[in-house]
């Protein structure tokens, strides 16, 4: 029987770069290659695994600038506009979050990447034009420094008996 917790723990270290990676994973957790593949498929279908593949470090790939653009959108239009923002390929996430009044009036957050700041601003202008949000209050928060970039969730590693820092998710 496959232990799902064990599979999650082993997979968080990444897939081994060998000819039959799923067989190797299966061997580590006392399961079969077929079962491992079925479980991963099921976890993807359920949304427990958002994506399966490579995770890039965008700063090293020439995407030097990113801005978090935050909007104060009437509650009854957040879904519509959040969906509109999310359609652009330069928008990497579009989330609804709670306002923290009176200090923080913004309830829709999107992350826009670009090769430099001008590129980000051009993308934003295109998005504003296309989604007709020119009159919506918003703020542009460029990142000036990245102090820490790693996933960090503890999962107890039942295989090795150690706690490992893991990369459960790269963004909140």
């Amino acid at each position: 029987m496959l232990n799902e917790r064990q599979l999650i723990t082993v997979l968080q270290h990444g897939l081994p770069l060998i000819s039959r990676p799923y067989a190797a994973i299966a061997e580590q957790i006392g399961s079969t290659e077929q079962e491992v593949m079925e479980y991963i498929t099921a976890m993807q279908a359920r949304g427990d695994i958002k994506r399966f593949g490579v995770v890039v470090r965008h700063r090293n790939l020439g995407y030097q600038a990113n801005a978090m653009v935050v909007w104060n959108i009437p509650d009854d239009r957040v879904d519509e506009l959040g969906g509109c923002f999310g359609k652009f390929e330069f928008v990497n996430l579009s989330y609804r979050r709670p306002r923290r009044l009176p200090d923080w009036p913004y309830n829709l957050f999107c992350m826009i990447h670009g090769h430099d700041r001008d590129d980000v601003l051009r993308n934003l202008a295109q998005m504003i034009d296309s989604c007709h949000v020119g009159d919506m209050p918003h703020a542009i928060l460029f990142s000036t420094h990245c102090y820490k970039q790693r996933g960090a969730v503890y999962i107890h590693d039942q295989i090795n008996g150690n706690d490992h820092l893991t990369n459960k998710s790269d963004i909140a």
């Binding site: 490579v54 020439g62 790693r150 998710s169």
Partner: protein, 151 residues
């Protein structure tokens, strides 16, 4: 930095951001799709990881669905205390990313915990240690998660 990437590296990165085949010999499938020998794909990925272009090869989990806690938090840090507060916040293992941004809310970090209730505990600890308010802004709705970078 982009210039250092071979066209085959770009091809591999662009393809693998979209997913990885789930079959007994995934590299052979990929090899056919990309028209690159399987051994070469693997060795290129290994090098891309070593050189820091790729941080990980495997699953991106949905922490909440797996029972973990995840949130985005922000602070208004007085500029003269920024370094000190950064050190304090980053000392927590639960802090995944920490970005400085040009706004009165100038510190933005992601908290990821094994259990959801730990988020509030960590926030309280940070507030106590820094004497500053931490604004918790958990995701309420997700409209898109692309995170695919064409190279």
């Amino acid at each position: 930095m982009m210039e250092a990437l071979h066209s085959l590296d770009k091809k591999i990165i662009n393809s693998l951001q979209g997913g990885f085949p789930l079959c007994e010999k995934p590299w052979d499938v990929l090899s056919q799709q990309l028209d690159i020998p399987a051994d070469e794909i693997m060795s290129r990925i290994e090098r891309l990881m070593q050189d820091g272009y790729i941080s990980r090869f495997g699953p991106m989990y949905n922490a909440e669905k797996l029972g973990g806690g995840l949130t985005l938090a922000a602070m208004k840090v007085p500029p003269n205390r920024f370094d000190e507060v950064t050190d304090c916040v980053n000392a927590f293992d639960e802090v995944a990313h920490n970005y400085q941004r040009d706004h009165i809310f100038n510190m933005w970090f992601v908290l990821a915990t094994e259990k959801p209730e730990q988020i509030k505990q960590i926030i309280k600890k940070i507030e106590k240690q820094t004497g500053l308010l931490v604004y918790n802004m958990p995701k309420k709705e997700e409209y898109f998660l692309g995170l695919k970078f064409e190279v």
